[in-house]
C-alpha cells in the first residue's frame, strides 16, 4: 500500500526511505571495499575495523529490503 504519500500516488514513504539508504549503501560499499582492499583507508581511529565497508553493507541490505518491500506495483494505488 502506498502508505502515507497521499491519494493518487503509488510511492510509499518507506520506498523513499529504502531508496535513499540503498543509494547510500551503493556508494559506501564499493568505496569501503576500495579503501579496505586497496589500502586506502583514512587514518581514523579504529579504521582497521573498516567501518565504511560494513556500514555500507548494512545500508545496502536495509535499503534494499525496504525498496523491494515497498516497491511501486501496478494497480496498487491507495
Amino acid at each position: 500500500m502506498a502508505q502515507g504519500t497521499g491519494r493518487g500516488e503509488s510511492l510509499s514513504i518507506w520506498f523513499f526511505v529504502g531508496g535513499l539508504t540503498l543509494l547510500y549503501g551503493v556508494v559506501l560499499l564499493p568505496y569501503g571495499a576500495w579503501a579496505w582492499f586497496g589500502q586506502h583507508e583514512a587514518q581514523t581511529v579504529l579504521h582497521h575495523l573498516h567501518p565504511t565497508f560494513w556500514w555500507g553493507l548494512l545500508l545496502t541490505v536495509f535499503g534494499g529490503f525496504y525498496t523491494f518491500r515497498f516497491r511501486p506495483r501496478s494497480g496498487k494505488i491507495s
Partner: protein, 581 residues
Amino acid sequence: MIPSPHVDGMAAFLMPHQLTHLAPVDILILVLYFVVVIFIGFYVKGSTNTSEEFFLAGREMSAWIAGLSFVSANLGSLELMGWAGAAYQYGMLAMHWYWIGAIPAMLFLGIVMMPFYYISKTHSVPGYLQLRFGEGARGLSAASFGLMTILMSGVNMYAMALVMKVVLGWNISFSIWVGAVTVAVYVMLGGLKSAIINEVLQFVLIWAGAALIPILGLVEAGGWTNLKAQIARNVGSNDYTHLWTTLGHFRDNPMGVHWTGIVFGLGFVISFGYWTTDFLVVQRVLSANNLRAAKLAPVIGAAFKMAVPFIVIVPGLLALAVLKNPDGSILHLVGENAVNATHPYSYNEVLPLMLIRYCGPGLLGLGITALVAGFMSGMAGNVSAFSTVWTYDIYGAFINKKASDKHYVAMGRWSTVIGMLVSIATAYLVANAASIMDYVQSLFSFFIAPLFGTVVLGMLWKRATKAGGFWGLLVGTASSIGMWVYTLRGGSAALSRIALSADAKPMAETLYRALWSWIICVVVTVVVSYMTKPVAIEQLAGLVYGATPIPDDGATSLWQKPIFWAIVVIVVFFILNIVFF
C-alpha cells in the same frame, strides 16, 4: 524547542577554525540528499490541492509515520550538537531532557489529550483554543506562535550556515540560501505532506549518520563499564554517569539544579507544555488517519525518543573518556569564552570532533548530510506550522473569513515563501547581532508553560470559562516575561529568588520560571472562571473531558490498544531510570 543549557548562546557555534573538508564521495552523498528532497516536493505536489491536504497532509498518515515525524520534528541539528555538548559538560544529567523531559508528556498527549484534539477536528492548537475559549485566546496564541516559529526558522538557518562554515569552511550566505530555497520549494509544493516525508527520511538519516559514533566509541572505550571507569578517572568523580544521585542539592551537580526543578519544572510543566501544546509537533499527530493512529503516534514517538540519547548523550560522554591531545594527555573541551591556543575546542564541537575521529570519507559525508537534514527539517517544520497557523488562525480568522478553499491553499503556499524570506532576514539579523539568538530562544519558553496551563484546564475542567482561559494565558505569559526580565536585570540575586536557592544556576531559573508561570496561569484561570458565568455543557461537547463521549478507537485486540503500548513504554522508562539512577 525545549531550552537547552548549552545552546543558550549564539557564541555556541562561533568556532574560529575549520575542522575538516569533504572528499568527492562526501559531496556525492550530500548532493543525492538534495536531489531526493526536491524530487519529493514535486512528487507530492499533485496531491496537495485542498487545504486539508496541504495543511494536514490529508489526515491520512499511519501511526508509524505520524509518530516518527512527531519525534523527528524535535530532532534538529541544533539540539543534537547542543545536547552532545551538554552531555560532555554535565554528564548524564543531560539525559533528563530526553527521558523525564519528554516521555511522560508524549504518552499523556497520546492517551489523554489526543482524543480531544482529534475529535474536535481542529486544524491547529490555536484552533482548539478558539473552540474552547474564543477568539481572544486564539489570537494571542496564534500571534505569539507564528512570530516565534518564523524567528526560530531563521535561527535554525543561521545555525546551519555557521556550522557548515566552521566545520567545512563554507560561505555563510551560500548555506543560508541553498538551505532556504530547498526548504521553501519542497514545503511550498507539498505542504505538510512533503515536510512529513522529509522528517521520516531525516530520522533514518540521522541514525545512519550518527549511530556509528557511539558504536565505535564504545568499542574504543572497551564497553560501558570501562567507559564509566575512564570518565570517573578523567574527571575525578562518579557523578557524570548518574541520573538522580546528584540532584539532592543545587550545589551537588554541575548543572546547579535540584530534583524538584527536574521533576516539576522540566518533567511536568516544560515538557508537557512543549509536547502537548506546541503546534509544530502536535500538527504531525493531527495528520494521522484515524483516532487510534492519532493516539498511537505519540506512543511510537516516545519509544524512539527514549533511544535518541544513544546518538546524542553517549558521544558526549565518550568524549570525556577518549579525546586526547597528540601527547596522550586528556583533551579538555571548554566553554566558548575560554577557547584559546591551549584549549582550541569548545563543548559545542563534541559531535563534529567525534564524527571526524571515527568517520573517514563517505561516512563523514553521511554524518554531515544527517546534520544538514536535521537543520532543513527543523526549518521545514517551523515554516509549515507557521503557514498553517497564519492561514487558519490569523488570515482566515481575522482578515479574510469567507475565501474559497483554493484561496486558502494559495495563501498557504505564499505564506511559506514569505515566511521563508522573513526567516532569511532573521538569519542575517542574527549573523550581525549574535545575542538576538539568545533572546529568540528565550521567547519560546515564555509561551509554552502558560499555554499548557490553559489547554489542560480547557480539556479537563468543564468550569473553565472563556474569560478565564484568556486572562490565565495572558497573565501567565506576562509573568514569565516579567520573571525573565527580572533575572536579566537582577543577576544572581534575582536568579536565587526565582529558583529558591543561592546555589542555583541559569538552567534552574528556566525550570522554576516555567513552573511559577504555569501556576500563575492556572490560578488566574480558576479565579476568573469562578467569577464569570459557566459555559453551557452542550457547548463543551467534543472539547472537554466529562462533556464528551470518547469514541471507540477501533482497537480489537490488546496489541492494537494504544494504552497497552503506553504502559510498555512507561515501564521501560522507569527501568532505564533505575538502571542509570
